[in-house]
Point group: C2
DNA sequence: CCCAAAATCTGAAACGTTACAGGTAGGCTA
DNA sequence: TAGCCTACCTGTAACGTTTCAGATTTTGGG
């Protein structure tokens, strides 16, 4: 808004109280259009097109840079009239603090880093997570940087990098493990973070998690009411990621309560390629002791799974029922329709972002732990 | 690596040539553990746990900060022996330039910003794009920040923000329009960028695009060989995004060449919610002049589309054939199986990242334009 | 063996911000 | 009126880097 800028400059130059001679001179070492000419009053004017700094405002308001800095952050030692004036100028000329300056001086980066595993993309997870986080950050001075790492690499590597180079004020990470080296490391170093998923290591830290135990429990219950007695579970990567345990806990509890039987699904998990899931599923469903009810914890895996079932010549809804978690709504339109529970990953992103921010603000970790509950949708209606 | 650090320090302190008195003293104003004590030789040692800076290396090597800075970037005015020594120390103590320092001094942010529309998530697009870009950036000093914007908001807003605050060295953006205000703005401001998709405004700029014209052409051809004569197209948002035109061009050409007929699909495009696509599709397929062949340019839309077709009581492969573009491999396992063309979005991400980087390096825009060709997979085999 | 040129190296300044340690003016108390 | 306190504002230094304009040493030619 160049017109506002012009207005601001002219308007406020008029209202400057003439400062002492030294004060004035010291304010004149502003960038001039030509390098060598003597400092003249005119030369100290903010150059059109140059980004305004504290110095610009200070000159326009006839104040010191320090005063301006404090006025902008509402410090108590600055008079109200001055604050108003400074803040008005700042707004009019479109002042925005230089991030590099702040970062160099204070060490604050105003960056939140999302550390993700690039391989284990459960359909829609990354994007929804990113958008959820961004929604929250967009109203703050924080930027979001994304740091994916390959599943083959050490998950600690990006974390160490961030800590060593001080490149973020807070970290959000997924694929949390029961005994997570990253959680330990970050806690020891006092770096704020939040995890998608829980740990089991006695360290209190911010997290958001989907209640996978409830999901598995309810899923089995749902299969039981359909008369299914031989239930199988396709879970997360065993047992490295925590929610694998939650799934099994809820699953086993419901199976036992219902007096049903468990059919083990070996060799595949949610990380497995869809092709292998399909093939393995065809094998499993061709065996004599095949399950008649399956719980699956990923939408894309469910699709491969259905393909395998049908390749074995079986019919969903007839020979076997299927319940799946999904983190995007594609399964809604997938056929045959199956029972799904939605995990709202975008909501998780929002929660996680809020958690790190509040953690950075010093809130106790215990107050930043939340769970979201499965939300059943019987798509077969 | 604290052991290496220790080793480096001890080793090199031995090899320091004793510098002149002033030189030595001037080097002693390094951060001491206690604030007020007099500068002693020991106090100037790099503090364990503090991040090393140029000053640390300078002290250890008995050189000036300037020399170290130059030596690390292989400047010609530094002796080879010095360079080797400095670079060795830097490596041993794990020196990494402070980004805020560099950025403040040079204005270089070492950041690439991915500006995305949060709503128009074509299944897997965002994540694959992010991972593709990251793959390339991970071998450079660049970080990736993601700036999503709502489809309701002005697409220019995040772009303006980035330019005004100088928060990135380069920008990657999608949903390119024939006459794209962002492209014009960035070109005028001389900010390096690359677009996913082409413009038609006579400005040469780096881009990567999927050849949607070829995709549509080949798709129709494929339908024609199956005897389909009444062909419909579900395209991108009309006509704001450029590839809408490419799709139609390839589509029309093939339909004309084959002497077939076009069936218009109104009211819906790839941005429409899956629910509305399904419903609208049901209507269209219930009408008397329904198509018998459909080309669809998004995998998730195809799923909703199939649901609509089947809701109308029609059978894929029998009553109607479907060809779709997909940017992830879920359709592979979707049933009924349809003909798909893969767009490798991860590859696009890599291309785009390479393009911005080379653009930043000063390469001519015309050398940074690439197209990727449709890759047919008949999943029905 | 001397001097100029080339080869190396150097400190100071600057980028924009905030923390620190005052400074000044005005009003109040004694 | 002197002394002090409060309210408000100030300049300087520092964060880590690079650029500028030298300074010093080494080399080589005569």
């Amino acid at each position: 808004m160049p017109p506002a800028k012009k207005f601001g400059l002219q308007y406020f130059c008029k209202t400057i109280q003439i400062p002492s001679k030294e004060g004035l001179n010291s304010r004149l070492n502003m960038k001039t259009t030509e390098g060598d000419q003597k400092p003249v009053i005119g030369a100290a004017e903010p150059v059109e097109g140059e980004r305004p700094t504290l110095k610009t405002i200070a000159f326009m308001a006839g104040l010191g840079v320090t005063t301006v800095s404090r006025a902008l952050k509402d410090a108590p030692e600055i008079g109200q009239a001055t604050k108003n004036r400074v803040q008005l100028i700042a707004k009019q000329i479109g002042y925005r603090p230089n991030r590099a300056g702040v970062r160099l001086r204070t060490g604050k980066t105003n960056v939140i880093s999302l550390v993700l595993n690039a391989q284990s993309e459960i359909m829609g997870l990354t994007s929804n997570m990113v958008y959820g986080i961004s929604e929250v950050l967009s109203e703050t001075p924080y930027h979001l940087t994304v740091t994916p790492y390959s599943v083959k690499n050490d998950p600690m590597q990006p974390i160490r990098y961030i800590v060593e180079t001080g490149s973020a004020d807070g970290i959000i990470m997924s694929r949390t493990e029961p005994n997570d080296a990253r959680v330990r490391y970050l806690t020891e170093h006092g770096i704020p973070f939040a995890t998608h998923g829980r740990t089991e290591m006695g360290i209190e830290h911010p997290f958001h998690d989907f209640d996978n135990e409830a999901f598995a429990y309810l899923s089995v219950k749902s299969l039981l009411t359909k008369g299914r007695r031989r239930i199988a579970l396709l879970a997360g990567p065993s047992p490295s990621v925590t929610y694998y345990r939650h799934l099994h806990r809820g699953f086993s509890r419901a199976v036992e309560e219902g007096g049903a039987n468990t059919v083990a699904v070996s060799d595949i998990d949610v990380d497995t390629s869809l092709g292998r899931i399909r093939n393995r599923m065809e094998e499993i469903m061709s065996a004599s002791n095949r399950p008649d009810g399956i719980v699956c914890c990923s939408g894309s895996a469910a699709i491969a799974l259905v393909a395998g079932i049908e390749a074995a010549g079986l019919k969903i809804g007839g020979d076997v029922d299927l319940v799946s978690k999904q983190s995007t709504d594609v399964l809604q339109w997938f056929r045959p329709q199956i029972i799904v529970f939605n995990e709202d990953v975008r909501h998780a992103g929002r929660e996680l972002a809020r958690a790190v921010l509040r953690r950075i603000a010093g809130v106790d970790a215990r107050e930043l732990q939340s769970l979201s509950y499965p939300d059943e949708h019987d798509l077969r209606s």
